[in-house]
Subunit: 343 residues, 2 copies
Amino acid sequence: MLTQRQLLILQVIIDDFIESAHPVGSRVISKNGKIPFSAATIRNEMADLEEMGFLEKTHSSSGRIPSEKGYRYYVDHLMAPIPEDAGVNVIKHVIQDGFFEFEQLVQMSAEVLSKLTNYTSIILGPELVETKLKQIQIIALSDHTAVAILVTNTGHVEHRSFSIPIEMNPADLEKMVNILNEKLQGVSIIRLSEVFQTEITSLMQKYIRDFDKSYDYLKEIFFNEHPVKLYIGGKSNILMQPEFNDVDKIRSFFSMIENEDKMASLIKRTKDGIKVTIGNENKAEAIKDLSLITASYQLGENQMGTIALLGPTRMEYRKVITLLHVLSNEMTDALDMWYKNNE
Amino acid sequence: MLTQRQLLILQVIIDDFIESAHPVGSRVISKNGKIPFSAATIRNEMADLEEMGFLEKTHSSSGRIPSEKGYRYYVDHLMAPIPEDAGVNVIKHVIQDGFFEFEQLVQMSAEVLSKLTNYTSIILGPELVETKLKQIQIIALSDHTAVAILVTNTGHVEHRSFSIPIEMNPADLEKMVNILNEKLQGVSIIRLSEVFQTEITSLMQKYIRDFDKSYDYLKEIFFNEHPVKLYIGGKSNILMQPEFNDVDKIRSFFSMIENEDKMASLIKRTKDGIKVTIGNENKAEAIKDLSLITASYQLGENQMGTIALLGPTRMEYRKVITLLHVLSNEMTDALDMWYKNNE
DNA sequence: TATTAGCACTCGGAAGGTAAGAGTGCTAAC
DNA sequence: GTTAGCACTCTTACCTTCCGAGTGCTAATA
């Protein structure tokens, strides 16, 4: 449907525009060497490409910029694979340097990604499907206060301080911890509150004096929703992009990015593989003039989380996709190893 | 030195400018009712106030805006105490609602402060002077990995996963934990690494087989610098201020605020009480056109940390100072109680 | 003597006009 | 099929003009 020459022209225009952010004129293309035709010829082809919807003009006598359809075609068919990018090694290096727990890995990844790309990175997860409770500890800080600590098989630690009800004596506290550990060890984190309610409550009521009065504190610990955590890196990177030269755009970008729920729902539905959504392809109103690229990282067969990059539609798709690909694989490998160790 | 009328005029101008962000003209002042003189009279006074350095013009025929000297005078002598502010109750409410540990208190405070003021809040600390180690636990996750957990008397929990060296057997691990707990309980967090090195190392070498090989992991836990933590709230609030209508200003603001070390050093030197630094009074180049207001919160006689607000020199000093005052007291009280509980 | 009315003057900002430059579309020639 | 040439379009920068807000000063007034 598109001639070889048209493909080439489209590619050159998009590559050029991604780099320069300026509309591309026919003269520039004919001079750059890749296409041995005159500006006039290229102009004709450009007119055709525009008619087919791959290019746009900002005004009647401007050069061309890619349309969203143009970007889509570019991403699907035209993008030359990136030869070698220094970023790939940076990512490998950072991940293989080791990490102490899931969250650290995720946070480091978000940072490195935003630094390498100058876009905003969003990392979701890891989801807690495979995460199981390893141990519960309650440590008294004083006569009236204590801290409860939950450790998972992935090395994640959650903790919460609380006041000890006066009715409860140390022996009871100890009994309680024993019951909790016995019944909850190995239980998946997401099932914790359920099991707690069905199996623990009655048992506790039986053995612990005045259990009902202490119940509230424990409940807080276990019914705490363990929300999927969101890491956003390079929030202000967007300021470097020329399309954000307008204070209102900056404002609306920040007000969007600071709504964590919205951000999480934005990238939640990713399946396996890398997915690119360009401009209006995004369902969320707030990012209809941005592009979002998501990739998932995995543990075994269960999806665990999602990495994403948010930037202008004029994004360095080639580079970004390469980097996301590498990072996703590296994270999957790293988590795999980590998980096997903690099985 | 300044007549009563001049004081009144200065006050009205500053109040008006703080609210409107527009230069204040003589007509507006004479019409607002507080000063029963004609615009011409007020003009004369304004000229005098300008000559004395309290006011400035943006151009030869503009209304007046306060100079930094003007703001300084206003803050020191002129500011009418705020009658009642809804924010005071919000703060009290939030703090008295309870918290589970220091960090949560601090974080909540930063958030509430930036929300109430629309400026950027910075909270430093709490410093760890009074914080002592309560207990150390090492929990094995698998044959090869474990997580070390440090609990302080303030309910703070630090943790770190590490690989167990193959040479070390479970009995050794247990022995190690016992030694650590025995020697380190009650030791101040900031002295932890010191005590570890002088008292623990030799003991360990004596009792634990192949201790040298596991040393590195432990070291990481105890030599980890326990940095003073910095909480910044409302980073993008500054976008609401009309003085940040320029992308370059926004850029430089964000690049400053993201440098945590710099921010920490900015507000570190605060003594007791509330301190206002206006524009060029700030030593740091980056905030020479902003105002910074700091207050410290305390525990007993040891200063613990600092709360600060960063905004344009055209700041609502009255409101901000009131709120900081209240917050500082509330935090001090809350920490006092908390600390007594955990003594 | 302190205050005020009146007025000429200044400056910023919005609105409109012009010229240069980049780029197009079309036509006609190669 | 390709290209040179040219008229045309639109943006951008720059200049001019005009209005309004506000000033400083002078002279009149209480």
